[in-house]
Symmetry: C3
Subunit: 463 residues, 3 copies
Amino acid sequence: MQKTCTPAATEQEMLCIFGTGDLGRSLGQRLFQTGYKVVYGSRRPHSCGPLPPGTQVQSMIHVAAAQSARLVFVCIHRENYNFLETLAPQLKGKVLVDVSNNLKKNMYPEANAEYLQRLIPGAQVVKGFNTLSAWALQNGPSDASRQVYVCGNSLEAKQAVIEVATKLGFTVLDRGSLTAARELEDFPLQLFPEWRLPLQLATGLTAFFFFYLLIRDVIYSYVVNDKDISFRIMASLANKVFPIVSLIMLSLCYLPGVIAAFLQLYRGTKYKRFPDWLDRWMLCRKQLGLVALALASLHVLYTLIIPIRYYVRYRLAAHTISQIKENKTSPFDTTMAWRTDSYYVIGILGFGLYLLLGITSLPSVSNVLSWREFSFIQSKLGYLTLFFCTFHTYLYGWDKFLQPSSYKWFMLPGYMLSLVVPSVVLVLKLLLLLPCVDSTLTRIRQGWERTDPEQERKKLLLT
Amino acid sequence: MQKTCTPAATEQEMLCIFGTGDLGRSLGQRLFQTGYKVVYGSRRPHSCGPLPPGTQVQSMIHVAAAQSARLVFVCIHRENYNFLETLAPQLKGKVLVDVSNNLKKNMYPEANAEYLQRLIPGAQVVKGFNTLSAWALQNGPSDASRQVYVCGNSLEAKQAVIEVATKLGFTVLDRGSLTAARELEDFPLQLFPEWRLPLQLATGLTAFFFFYLLIRDVIYSYVVNDKDISFRIMASLANKVFPIVSLIMLSLCYLPGVIAAFLQLYRGTKYKRFPDWLDRWMLCRKQLGLVALALASLHVLYTLIIPIRYYVRYRLAAHTISQIKENKTSPFDTTMAWRTDSYYVIGILGFGLYLLLGITSLPSVSNVLSWREFSFIQSKLGYLTLFFCTFHTYLYGWDKFLQPSSYKWFMLPGYMLSLVVPSVVLVLKLLLLLPCVDSTLTRIRQGWERTDPEQERKKLLLT
Amino acid sequence: MQKTCTPAATEQEMLCIFGTGDLGRSLGQRLFQTGYKVVYGSRRPHSCGPLPPGTQVQSMIHVAAAQSARLVFVCIHRENYNFLETLAPQLKGKVLVDVSNNLKKNMYPEANAEYLQRLIPGAQVVKGFNTLSAWALQNGPSDASRQVYVCGNSLEAKQAVIEVATKLGFTVLDRGSLTAARELEDFPLQLFPEWRLPLQLATGLTAFFFFYLLIRDVIYSYVVNDKDISFRIMASLANKVFPIVSLIMLSLCYLPGVIAAFLQLYRGTKYKRFPDWLDRWMLCRKQLGLVALALASLHVLYTLIIPIRYYVRYRLAAHTISQIKENKTSPFDTTMAWRTDSYYVIGILGFGLYLLLGITSLPSVSNVLSWREFSFIQSKLGYLTLFFCTFHTYLYGWDKFLQPSSYKWFMLPGYMLSLVVPSVVLVLKLLLLLPCVDSTLTRIRQGWERTDPEQERKKLLLT
């Protein structure tokens, strides 16, 4: 019985490949090097074009090839699948591995593998190997191509394919039945779909604040004071834009959660779907947070190079020299020391927590956490991070809002603008933490529903 | 045969859910959205309360529901399991998925799933889905809820559940037979159990050193010199406390290993269990080290902001001004340059190695290392890190121990206290590296045992 | 049928261990603690030496032991395997778990497990548990010993072993048939094989540039100017060596890809194997890059401590004092401000991208990326990183190459040497991006081959 269960792909086993395009030839070369006998199916015998050099693979006509092997790799374009229908008798009971990919998403109503299964119902179609790069198909596992995803309706057929993939050095992930084929075919086509919105947002906000502050700081100074301080664009201006955008994006991570909570409170149930925009917003919170973390890290580095910048050194020296020349020394200001130290320290602590949030969102770390632990970090520590970063910004502002020089050309300073969203989020969160609100929300999230008398009546009529 | 092996859960398959609480309704909503037909079991027909909106699920009496489906999800509290006993004939041969969780650990002598299996011996009980968050049960995989753990005695039943979980988008980890159910039921209840001790230790040490240094530095200065330097609490004091606690905790990572080695040498065998406290200590070394790394990172950030602090800038300027006023310039001190540069550089190298240790303890990194590689890094590089960090602290001290001003109120400076444990650990480790000691220890660790003549005699009598 | 499929290793199941060395006793202790009955096989009854204390395991003669259990763990050295041949009748149909390891790689022509299978063809040999550390074998999973790799020809036998391993708390990775045994036996012996070359290169380059700059800066100053600036070795010199080596190594990551592209263009096909040296070079690009990142991080830390160094503070103060004494203030130089700020900012951006490359090469991150995403980051962003870092170095140089003082003793400054390789790589990459070259290369990489008329003729003759 064991023999029939395990395919036990011995070194001598014959594998058949349909298709001598890039895909088929790369795969054939690799299979051959791993010790398999490889045969190519072609329309005419010995007509399959230049085969992988040194592989000494055979090329047979399709019928013979299909009969010779138990596993057939289908490495041809979907448009050419229909000729396979004629081979249905030979392919009966065989394992067909669909390696194909499409050029675009949603080109066809059904997945290639499902279409293949429909064409040849007698075969056991397995989708697999399509998520690998051409390099990995030809040379074996490399960084993003370590895992082979397979799916198929037959457990046995999948086992046979898993055996081959494992022997080629890949780690195999079984994605279930053939209905997952669509997902597998879409995977290689994606290019950071969930990062697009956060990156666009970051770009937009960065551009806006850059030009806003350019006008307010550099151009204002040039026009009004006739002073060219354009050199500040490189470091000083960027070091204002980055933390502003970072703080706004961090608060945008927590805003949808707060909105969702109020929506659930208003609706009195958690089983109604959120509006689409809220759903999409909630699904990209992680990416929003990571982009914000990247900007915060840049802010940290920009801040730490301050003392080695020529401009800063020049100004400090000039200040010392002027003090001596005017023969007056400013006394030590303890309030100033407290304030600036607090400002830096709160910033450091906020950034430290921020890094912790980033580290726990690494897949391998979040996988070993229970969701209670994960939500503790991402929610409790997350709000603490937001609080620290907002407080850091308030300390930066301090009493600047009292100085008329802060309102050049009636434009608010950047840090004030950046405080709007986080302050709103924190206030709303505080409201949600009020005991009466919190207990209602907890009950709703545990499945309790506020029922209208109206609905109650209807239900009674139904039962 | 293939058909009987693979459950091949087609889109049309009917799934039954017992329980219309939060768990049952969230799961039902998700299953329905994924394309399954869902039926709820209830005591009376159509009495199961408000079902997920738009799901159009049926609600049958329990008997009918149990008969209609091959997979039955049990989403009710353990206290209500006994009514299931009456359904034993209908549930015979069915796959029962126990999704329940308890409110506390160790509430019952046996796991819920094992209790269920005992109640209905004819069914195939599989534990699963219980480690997911309510959010993930309702909306699909999210960060810490990507993996579904399943366990059960029947391979077939598990396959059927795995198929469903995979279709819902989760990655499935098979944890073996039903005896693992207890572990799975405890998982969602845990909140960083192994971090508790290290965090408590870190908090305790931080508090102690904070107040110690507060008295020694700030209060002493206020009482004796009548000078208010309280502003130093925010940055200067914290930047003393963090590295002190970090160094002590790093050395506490390596102390238990050294103690264990001496214990093995003394006992002459590695097969005797260590005392419980040592076992528990050794199991939290990783967490000790990571907390120490976090504190060391804060120390680095606190150090790097030194030159932008108001207090530091003020003092530097004041020093320059006083030099000019008194018209004497201190000559350049090459020893001072060597010493301070070495101090910083050793610190940087220690921190760099420290980061390396941290990175290799990420689950995905340590998984790809062989244990020989892992122990090379964590042991060899670990001791090197400890040596660098200890040396960094000695360089900081330099000849300060000669100055009477270091012993205010007979209190030793903080850095001296922090050097005690690491110095002891390094000396003990050096002893263990002596060739004669090392060879004996190696033999013991390879299984060799020193035998008492006494024991030898006993054994001879026995055989 | 289910019963025969699942081994269902109940707590009462008897496991047999051959070998009472370290391996056998550690494993036995652990199995016993997990609830298994353990029996040791020995030549004479009750003669197996001191067994794990408190385990109350039995010890039988080999024949009886082999008969008593379905799973037999073979924990003896390969040299002693031949006695097992005499037990072939008793071991028929049993699952033999080969836990052995060798002392060196390639000691024997075939893997231990394959040799065992050949000796006892009637048994079902499974390789497993050998990749665990002795600590993990005795105490359960720990960091780098969480995963048990198994391989074997019988699916059933593997299931039985997987069941045991899972119950011991390990995660099991099925590596396919017994041909993978060799790989599993080599795994515990490896010590960063793929890191050796990059680390040697880094060490060599570091040593070279250290002595080069030592002569050029420190010794030159001592000999020619009679000035001892040896204190600069610790920080200033290291902060020149690290970025130089880092930049060279980063560019060496991208050089082989460029060479490969030109080779493919020249050959007109992608199916010919690259020369061995190029293959080996390409396989260690990731390690090259990570070592370069480590050096770049050190460069960043060394740079950030500049303002707190005694030497720097002294020089700044001396500069201020001399300005006052000579009563002349240097005017603010806007070009200087632009240049230095740009220099720092480009460096920060380069380092930020560099970190991003490092993070995406973490196994758990690269696993969730599609290869299209991975290659976007590693290739597109990688070249951008290289460009930024090279530009950063050019900005550092600025007009220094015009000053005769840059060529002490006819030795070029270090930064110039470091610019050679990256500049070459960037220029070659630019050539490859020319539309005509790019389109040809893309076609070749998609499988197209340039065919000589010569070859064409030959092929026609063949078919």
